[in-house]
Every structure is written in C-alpha cells, then in structure tokens.
Symmetry: C2
Subunit: 345 residues, 2 copies
DNA sequence: GCATAGCACTCTCGTACAGAGAGTGCTAAC
DNA sequence: GTTAGCACTCTCTGTACGAGAGTGCTATGC
C-alpha cells in the first residue's frame, strides 16, 4: 500500500474527527469551510478520491460525502495511540474517586466500570483480577444451622469465594474452627495442584472440605471465572447508527451472557501484555454481532500473579481520543491496586 | 361505572389476548373470524363502541381497530389473578434448576432472575433478601499484608459482607484471630442497635473493628442496600412498541442506576405483603419513564426476618398470563429458600 | 328490541413522482 | 499542481393517489 502524503494524512484525520463528531458523511465543501483550509473543494475532492482508492474512505452512495472505512479508523487510531494522555485534571478526579471509595475489590471494579463508561460514552466491561494458578490463603468455616456450613475461602491476591456445604451430619462450631485452623496451617500459600496432591489422609470432615476447597480454587483458576462488571449499556442505544435497527439488541445480548462475554474478552486479549492496549475495529476477531462496533481493550494486574481485563465497546465511530487514554489510565490504576494488594504476601 | 355484560367481558378478554399476541389493533372482523364468534361484525362494533365509551378500549385513530386502555388491562389482569397457576411441568423444571445450582444466595438470585426473564420475556429484577434489622452472627479477620485486614462479617440470615480496613499499625494474625473470637462470643445474635450501644470499653483494635461492624450492619439494614439482580434487559428491545424510539433507552437507564432501581422496587412494594402480588400498569406510581410499561412485583421471604423483592418489567402488552404465575411461583420458591436458611438459627 | 346488512366516511400505508439539495467526477483553464 | 465549471447521480422531502381496513350510522329483518 502506497504512502500517504502529509496533506492526505491531515485530510484523513480531519475527516474522521468530523465524522466521529457528527455521524454524517463528510463532503469536500464542509471540510474546506469548517476547518478553514486554504484549498478549494475540487482539490479536496481529488485527494478524497485518492484516499477512497487506497481504501481509507468509503462512499455510502455516489452522491454522499465520505465515511471512514475500517482501515481509515485503524490509521486514525495508530495516530492516537502515541501521544494520547488523559488531562491531568481528569486523572486527578478519577484517582480521587478511587481513594474515596470503599476499599474492596468489588467496589473498585464497579467504580472503574462506571468511570470507563462515563468517560467513553460506551459500554465498559471489566473482569476482576484473578491468578492463573490460585493459591490458598485462608479458610473460615461458619456453622449456619444443623448441617449447613458457610465456607469462606480467601485466596492470595484477595479473591474471596463463599460457598455453603451441607454435611452428612451436624458438627459443632468448635470442631469447625479447629478444622479451619488446621487447614490454614497446612495449606497456607499452596497452589491448587499442590493441595489436590495432598489427597486422602485425614477424617471425613476434612475430606469434604478439602474437596470443596480445591473445587473452588479450580473454578477461580479458570480463565473464564469471576464476575464481569459492566456499565453504560444504554449508552450504545443513543448512538444514531443503532437506533431503529436491532443491531444494538444483538450487540447488547452479548453482555447478558456472561459466558460469551468472558469468551470475547479472553479471546481478544490472548496475546496482549500488561500495559499494552488493543483496539479492535469493526468486530475484528470474528464477532459477527459486533461488526459495527469497536473495542478498546487492555489487560491489567501483575503478570504471573493476578491479572484481569478491561475494555470499552462502542460504535466504530466512538471517540477513540477520549476512550484510549481513559482505558490506559484506568488499567494503570487497577494494576497499582492489584500490586498494592499483593505486595507483602 | 356501569357493569359489563357477559358478552362484553368475553369480547374484552378476547380482544386483549389478541392484542397481546399480535401487537396490532384488533378490529371487529378479525375478532369474529379468528374466534369463530356466532355474531356479525356489526354487532361486535356496537359492543366495542360501548367498551370504548366505558374506557376499557381506545382507538389509535378513527379507522383502526381497538387497543386496550390501561383500565382494560387492569380488568384483564384482575381476571388473571385468580386461577393463574404455572403448569406442573414448568414448576418442576424450575424447582429442579434450583436444586441443581450451587447452594448460595448469589447463585439463587442469578438463577431466579434468569428464570423470570426467560419465562416472562421481560426484564427481571430481584433484590437479595435482607433483614430490616441486621443481626450479628460471626466475624473473621484475616491479615492480608502489613496493615491491611480483610474483615468478613456474616449476619443472621446468611448475608455476608467483606470489607478491607487499614489499621494504624501492623497486627499479627494471631491477635486478629483472638479479637475475632472475643467479638464472636460477645456479639452473637445481637442487632445493630445493641452493638452500637455497647460502645467504648476495650482497646483500639476492638474499637476500630466495632465501628466497621456497626457501619456494615447499618448498611445491610438499610432498605436500599444489597445488590440487585437483573436479567433479560434486551428482551424489552425486541418489543415492537419500543423499536425506533428511545423510550426503551430511557426505561433501561433505570436499570443502570442501582439507586433508582432500589427506589422503584421499594416504593412499589411498601404496602404489599409476602405472597401478595402487585401489578402496576402503565407506570402507575409516578414513573414517567415507564409509562408504556407494566410491572409485576412481589415480596418474598420471612416477614420480620429477611425479605426481598422480585419483579418483572415489560411492555404494557406483556403476557400477564405467563408472567403473573411465574412471579408468584418464584416468589414462593425464594421464600422457602430464605425460610430454610433461617430456620435453626 | 336486538341483530344484521349495507353504505358512506375516515384514516393509514404504500407507491409513484417531481423538485430541491448535496456531492461527486471530469474536463479545461490557470 | 490547483481550480472553476458543469453535467451527473443519488438522497430526501413533500405531494398525490388508490387500496385497504375499520368504523359509525341507518334501515331492515326476526
């Protein structure tokens, strides 16, 4: 593919920016008048024809203005990626909100989702951080009634799982506490595999609980585990390109099926690093339902310990200039939080 | 208001059922042909004119069929309420799904929301059960790093709250465990008010934790506390009356703001009893955004101990015949579950 | 007195069509 | 290389019109 001249670059960027704002095909005249270009519409038309030829622009029909193609957006985004940083003031506001919130993962995730959605005017999605290989930290056993026991399992990194188990016969709280203490001494810091290797050697109660513990830890280790936080679902409905068709419904449906959404996030970030940002334009990656959408996705956390994914979904026409730096900044913030939670183990 | 003749009742019910199915205004001819009535269209027209006069029907325009008015729906629903019961087979399927799920509140709520949404083809919403006055059951303190402590607070009824607190200075896990044991002995079964009355009399660590405990319990006691589970958000988007306008967006926006949704559920059920079902038609209760919608709402749980709210929102044209019995049945199921969880405390 | 057939009336919806407007590509001139 | 001019294409808007559906009213039949 041929190199773009400086003027072509400028025009392409202007046009895309204009289209993102207005959602209207952009014509040569509008470009000249609106941006005070020292050129005539005819010249612009020539350039636009060239850009169309090269695949960066597209015409909805013969006599409409131009609209960016997917390649056009890609070029635009590649320009954005470098210098894009969130204004200091916004950074401070966001950081402040985090410091003011309740200090638990659940709140942080909810807050992060809300901030992402609000800043980007798109749909945000975040997975809670989790370790590839869960490690045991602590268990508590609390008797709730005769044979039912509430097990609270804490893993290194702060992940917590609650589960009720029903025992074969009633057990006193005292005995439960003893068991918990014993297990805590025995298992502290161990990974799932090590724990399952321990296997059979104690009494029936221990046995039941060990099984449940490994089961929960395996669940926590699965890449598709954990809650997904989303926000801004209705934002996408206000976009003009979605009103009137049921494309929006099909896209939102993805957000109603946690398994699908997990899959989407997992597949989209397999080969991306912490700190690295990925922009998927026009449903890249084979998501038919998202053909009209783009996603900005990043991983966060501490590699090898606990990581998660966050991202924003919007129309292809989304404001990359706002979304990209926001995603990057929030990813950084969450990485710091995860780091703080892990350090000192 | 004048009494309806039997024939008028039949016609009204038929017409509403037809409209609910087709979303099209129903004319006299269609009514006769489709339901093999032994009357001529002209007669039906006379009756329909009477029903319109009485306020049960409405004409979109002079020459369209009739559409139910809100009063019409109310009449229809009042007929539904009595005999409506879910088919045995469906009851069994649902009950089966509950027994197969993981045995914790979170899973149950998610499942219930999913079932409600699926059965009714509307948007479901459920609040987790919570006590009007939270009572203490158990606390665990787990050191995560130097000065940060994870507190897991369990309340009577099974509500669990996790919170991280940062201490002024590092404390050993041993000391934390001792403190937890002491508190558990001291506070077991107490209500918030009793605990805050205890007040100052021990060391700084106890103090900090007590404050946090009462704080969390107060939060749990608030009527607007707790997570809300929803499902089926996209269902409403496929309804013809919402496609093309942004009414749907405004309605769905309510579901994105937990506080508003809490408020909606709380206000809609203030004077309803466990087991009682409430049907709000056309945004009754002053919700402008829901003017086109209806809600079927019920409370569940054990009065005085732990209760919650569940409901379905759909277009005014929703299938009451399916939704009402489903809501009633699921409310019963959840009440049983709550009861099982509490009994034996 | 209730039910019905007939009929004129009203309103929506789809199609067709014309004119305005916007934007283009091309050519010729600067 | 840039620009003015121009014919062309396509969308959009508004209007007209007929088909279709449904109504209300009136006169007639049982």
């Amino acid at each position: 593919m041929q190199e773009l001249t400086d003027r072509q670059k400028t025009l392409l960027l202007l046009l895309i920016r204009d289209y993102i704002e207005t959602a209207q095909p952009v014509g040569s005249k509008r470009l000249v008048e609106h941006y005070h270009l020292d050129l005539s519409p005819a010249t612009i038309r020539n350039e636009m024809a060239a850009l169309t030829e090269m695949g960066y622009l597209r015409q909805p029909h013969t006599s409409a203005g131009r609209v960016p193609s997917e390649d056009g957006y890609r070029y635009f985004v590649s320009q954005m990626m470098q210098d894009a940083e969130l204004p200091r003031a916004v950074q401070h506001t966001i950081a402040h909100q985090f410091h003011q919130s309740r200090a638990d993962m659940d709140q942080w995730m909810t807050l992060a989702a809300s901030i992402l959605a609000h800043q980007s005017q798109g749909v945000s999605m975040i997975t809670a951080p989790h370790a590839e290989q869960a490690r045991y930290k602590h268990v508590e056993l609390i008797s709730t009634q005769g044979r039912q026991v509430l097990m609270v399992l804490v893993m290194v990194g702060g992940e917590v799982s609650q589960q009720i188990l029903t025992l074969a016969e009633p057990v006193t709280q005292e005995r439960l506490s003893q068991t918990a203490t014993r297990l805590n001494g025995l298992l502290a810091g161990l990974a799932v595999d090590a724990i399952s290797a321990l296997a059979t050697r104690s009494d029936a109660l221990d046995q039941d609980i060990l099984i449940l513990i490994t089961q929960e830890m395996r669940r926590a280790s699965e890449s598709n585990s954990g809650e997904i936080y989303t926000d801004g679902l209705t934002n996408v409905l206000s976009e003009p390109e979605f009103s009137g068709s049921d494309d929006a419904r099909r896209a939102l449906k993805i957000f109603e099926e946690p398994a699908t959404l997990q899959d989407l996030l997992a597949r989209s970030t397999t080969n991306s690093n912490i700190g690295g940002l990925q922009v998927l334009i026009g449903g890249e990656g084979g998501w038919e339902e998202l053909r009209q959408c783009s996603m900005v996705i990043a991983r966060y956390g501490v590699p090898g310990m606990a990581t998660g994914t966050l991202g924003v979904l919007g129309p292809m026409r989304m404001s990359y200039a706002r979304t990209i730096p926001t995603v990057r900044f929030v990813a950084g913030l969450l990485s710091d939080l995860v780091n703080d939670t892990i350090v000192g183990e």
